[in-house]
């Protein structure tokens, strides 16, 4: 098979020394992708080493990073955003992914009636835009509209109600949970697909050995879907450290109250684009983008070179 394609390729190369069609096929994608994505990315990385000195753009080495990490005006905002972003990610990993796995496990029970209906309904929020999701939850959690207290009253927990989005202690958790509500469909679907791919024979063999129910899930299925769990973890990581829209919609660009929901995305927006009295700062914006790039790169590398290689894969 490979020999055939090889000799065919060689034959073509011999008869037509330059295979122009390869270039024609590749060029449009390559040009758009390089010009709009890769070059700006590197230009942004480069800009993080420059700043305006006496009205002129000048190379300043790592001075921007020093400012970002250490300067009184910047460092507090930056470390706050980084910490919040980390909490945002941890909440997703602890709430979104386990719920996603649990729902997928329930949905993949064979001959479950109405599985298609549940799947369709639970995936719906994932398709809505952040604007819709953000405002719907803002209304529902609003103390002006009595919906949340009323619902809590039904289960006898009315006293627990508080304007969660308006309190610095709870705002970040509330926003994270809204994001979890929106995105739980993605881990659910990917895990569901992985569970469906487990061959029937494996499950039958487990049953013959008397492994059923919970034991079956934890001892047989879970190890088999670990690669899929790895993928949803890294997708969550990249998505969370790049998030912006939901916080912007629910809490505005200042990510209030008192910066308690500020994450790297909103910090980048305010820094680079300016907001209200604050002027946009291109160099510091590029610096924050570079830090985000390095964080995401570190996470992806950790996944690709360490975690993915350690996960044991089974072939059927």
């Amino acid at each position: 098979m490979t020999d055939a394609t090889l000799s065919q390729g060689e034959m073509q190369a011999a008869s037509r020394p330059r295979r122009w069609h390869i270039a024609v096929f590749l060029l449009p994608a390559l040009v758009v992708y390089s010009a709009v994505m890769i070059l700006p990315l590197f230009e942004t990385l480069r800009l993080s080493f420059y700043n305006t000195v006496d009205g002129q753009s000048a190379f300043v080495g790592l001075a921007n990073f020093k400012t970002l990490f250490g300067d009184a005006r910047w460092a507090a905002d930056f470390w706050n955003a980084l910490k919040n972003n980390f909490i945002f990610f941890v909440i997703h990993m602890l709430v979104q992914n386990p719920i996603g796995v649990a729902l997928a496990a329930l949905l993949s029970i064979p001959k479950l009636r109405g599985a298609a209906f549940y799947r369709t309904a639970i995936f719906l929020p994932t398709l809505l835009s952040f604007v819709i999701v953000g405002f719907i939850w803002k209304l529902i959690l609003s103390p002006i509209w009595g919906v949340s207290p009323y619902l809590l009253d039904l289960v006898g927990l009315k006293s627990l109600f508080a304007p969660w989005l308006g309190k610095p202690n709870s705002a970040l958790i509330a926003v994270s949970l809204i994001s979890v509500w929106q995105y739980v469909g993605i881990p659910m679907m990917l895990i569901y697909a992985a569970l469906l791919n487990i061959p029937e024979e494996v499950i039958e063999a487990a049953e013959c050995d008397g492994v059923t129910g919970w034991a079956q899930f934890f001892k047989i299925k879970l190890p088999l879907i670990l690669p899929a769990i790895g993928i949803i973890s890294i997708l969550t990581f990249v998505g969370n450290f790049n998030a912006f829209d939901l916080v912007y919609t629910v809490q505005g660009a200042l990510a209030g109250p008192d910066g308690s929901t500020d994450i790297l995305g909103t910090l980048l927006y305010r820094t680079f684009f300016g907001f209200q009295l604050q002027l946009g700062d291109r160099s510091m914006g590029a610096t924050i983008a570079t830090v985000m790039f390095l964080i995401i790169l570190a996470g992806v590398s950790l996944y690709l070179f360490v975690i993915q290689r350690r996960i044991r894969r089974y072939q059927f």
């Binding site: 590749l26 709009v36 995936f123 398709l127 790049n242 919609t249």
Partner: protein, 279 residues
């Protein structure tokens, strides 16, 4: 063949859990839609009640349709999304074909280069993208958005499509070559029709983030003439934040197209996700 494993009570528990989560997922949307059809008093007094003849009121919709340029926003979103998807599919399929069909020097490297963008979000280049768009005079044009979204969608499209194109039989393509078809004809007339299901999957994956994006419209094209639906409703709702009728109506109008499309295509979408394209 699996025999019925679950006892009756276990099945009931499973359904109870799934119904409970389904309610959590759907209830906020349902609540928004029913309240958008009620008058102001009823919205606050009985948020849970379905609209009755005495509380039915369309005042929110009248405000929204009389105020915002939603037709223009909708048209902008549609143009941006459709053109971007078309370009992603065409360019992505062409590149995927080149990578999966021909052996040439740098093939693997090219594949890795194009796959970089799957993991590294394009947003991080925003500072330089805006600079470039200002330099080329593309700020506040739909072209700027289309270019950005095409670049954003290409990596995943190339990745998924080249996996699928490897499964197209070599015999078929060689038969075409013997019959004198050019490489372009083989791509457009033999291979493209065969990977149509994969193209549909890619189209859906490309569409959702483009339609819902707030970041690039906010930064690259915030002018009145180029606002997308997402940005338009963000600003509109922000202005009417105390007019609950208008806010609920605007939200319902924004949900509607997504809901209709989803109910029409959910089968294909879910099949696409679970078919192994994203294993």
């Amino acid at each position: 063949m699996s025999k019925a494993r679950a006892s009756l009570s276990r099945t009931a528990l499973v359904h109870a859990a799934l119904i409970a989560y389904t309610l959590v997922a759907v209830f906020p949307v349902f609540l928004t839609i029913i309240n958008s059809f009620k008058n102001r008093n009823a919205i606050f007094r009985n948020p849970m009640q379905l609209p009755t003849p005495s509380t039915f009121d369309l005042v929110g919709y009248q405000t929204v349709l009389g105020q915002g340029d939603f037709a223009v926003y909708f048209q902008n979103s549609l143009i941006v999304t459709v053109v971007s998807i078309a370009l992603v599919l065409l360019f992505g399929a062409m590149a995927a074909f080149a990578l999966s069909e021909y052996r040439f020097r740098g093939n693997t490297l090219m594949g890795l280069y194009l796959a970089l963008g799957i993991m590294i979000p394009i947003r991080l280049g925003t500072v330089a993208i805006l600079q470039g768009m200002v330099a080329t005079g593309l700020v506040n044009t739909l072209t700027a958005l289309i270019l950005v979204y095409t670049a954003q969608g290409l990596p995943l499209a190339v990745f998924i499509l080249s996996e699928f194109m490897r499964t197209v039989s070599d015999d078929l393509k060689n038969a075409g070559r013997i019959d004198g078809l050019s490489e372009y004809a083989i791509f457009f007339r033999l291979v493209l029709p065969l990977v149509r299901p994969a193209m549909a999957t890619v189209a859906v994956f490309t569409m959702i983030p483009i339609w819902n994006d707030l970041w690039f419209p906010l930064i690259l094209a915030p002018s009145e003439a180029t606002k997308t639906v997402t940005l338009g409703s963000q600003i509109f709702i922000g202005q009417f934040v105390t007019n609950w009728n208008a806010v609920l109506a605007a939200l319902s109008l924004a949900i509607l197209p997504v809901l209709v499309l989803y109910l029409a295509f959910s089968r294909q979408l879910i099949r696409g996700i679970t078919s192994g394209a994203v294993k």
